[in-house]
């Protein structure tokens, strides 16, 4: 069987069953991402993958989780910005769901950054935390997106998505400030490994990018699951609302 008829057969199968991508593609992607994450972790921890840094020793390998987590969080916050702006312009519910989902998963990755950072700082700097520009701005960024999620969770006003989208735009403005803070301020945090005169061993760079790819694939899958969940939740909420409307006893005026 040549490629074309096979592709045609597959497209017909997918058209007949719209849930097929989720049933087949999702488990395959989960397995592939699991393999990629395992391989990336092996490369990050093994001296065969990345060489051991001479000054810090083995603890420097936290870098392969700390930095890709930060980059993934930034990427998700930028997608959140795009979705929020689109929602503000078009009032598209799908964009609103995407904004919520990327903010939530972004906060998870930002939490990883804020937890792994101090664990790395303790043996290297001798302190868990210092109020320097990079660390403080990252904490502020995390707090902005946590407040975004609290707003989404606890406000039931019809204007909540609009307010949240405006807050998301503010939060995204903070992302470049966090990234460039080590360029413009004297901080305890190391200078960037790439750009602004920074350099990195090519093998370290390879493992760093591999881990970023693995975390990005993982984030994509989590966002996909969370997106479906949110969409389903909204459908169920609508069904509940319809049901309560139908169950409501007729008012005296309508009874007349």
């Amino acid at each position: 069987m040549s490629f074309e008829p096979r592709a045609l057969a597959l497209s017909k199968l997918v058209t007949r069953n719209p849930k097929l991508p989720m049933k087949i593609v999702f488990p395959i992607l989960v397995i592939l991402t699991g393999v990629l994450l395992s391989y990336a972790m092996y490369m990050a921890l093994s001296p065969n993958g990345a060489p051991t840094e001479q000054t810090m020793g083995m603890v420097q390998r936290i870098f392969y989780y700390h930095v890709p987590s930060a980059w993934t969080a930034f990427l998700l916050f930028f997608i959140n910005l795009g979705a929020s702006v689109y929602y503000l312009i078009r009032r598209c519910p799908t964009a609103d769901i995407l904004a919520l989902v990327t903010a939530e998963v972004g906060v998870v990755f930002c939490t990883v950054v804020l937890v792994t950072g101090p664990i790395w700082a303790r043996p290297v700097w001798g302190i868990w935390w210092t109020w320097d520009m990079r660390l403080t701005s990252t904490l502020v960024l995390w707090l902005i997106y946590v407040s975004y999620l609290f707003l989404r969770r606890f406000s039931s006003s019809g204007q909540t998505p609009v307010l949240a989208a405006a807050l998301a735009v503010l939060g995204a403005l903070c992302v470049p400030f966090v990234y460039f803070s080590i360029w413009f301020f004297r901080t305890q945090h190391p200078q960037p490994v790439m750009g602004n005169g920074g350099s990195i061993d090519p093998r370290m760079l390879h493992v760093l990018l591999l881990n970023w790819l693995a975390f990005s694939c993982f984030a994509f899958l989590v966002c996909w699951s969370r997106f479906r969940l949110e969409k389903l939740q909204r459908e169920v909420d609508e069904a509940h609302a319809m049901r309560s409307l139908l169950d409501e006893p007729a008012s005296p005026r309508s009874a007349r």
């Binding site: 810090m56 083995m58 603890v59 939490t111 937890v115 664990i119 989590v222 969940l229 049901r243």
Partner: protein, 41 residues
């Protein structure tokens, strides 16, 4: 090599955070499934 426990702690913390979040998603799915079943009734 004295810093190895920190390396382990950082990697473990990363996966604990991710697994905790994934657990909340799975629980929300389960709750939603129950709600859908109730609605069908």
């Amino acid at each position: 090599m004295t810093a190895d426990p920190y390396l382990f702690a950082a990697y473990a913390a990363t996966w604990i955070i991710h697994i905790a979040y994934l657990t909340t998603i799975v629980r929300r799915y389960a709750r939603l499934k129950r709600e859908i079943e109730e609605l069908k009734k």
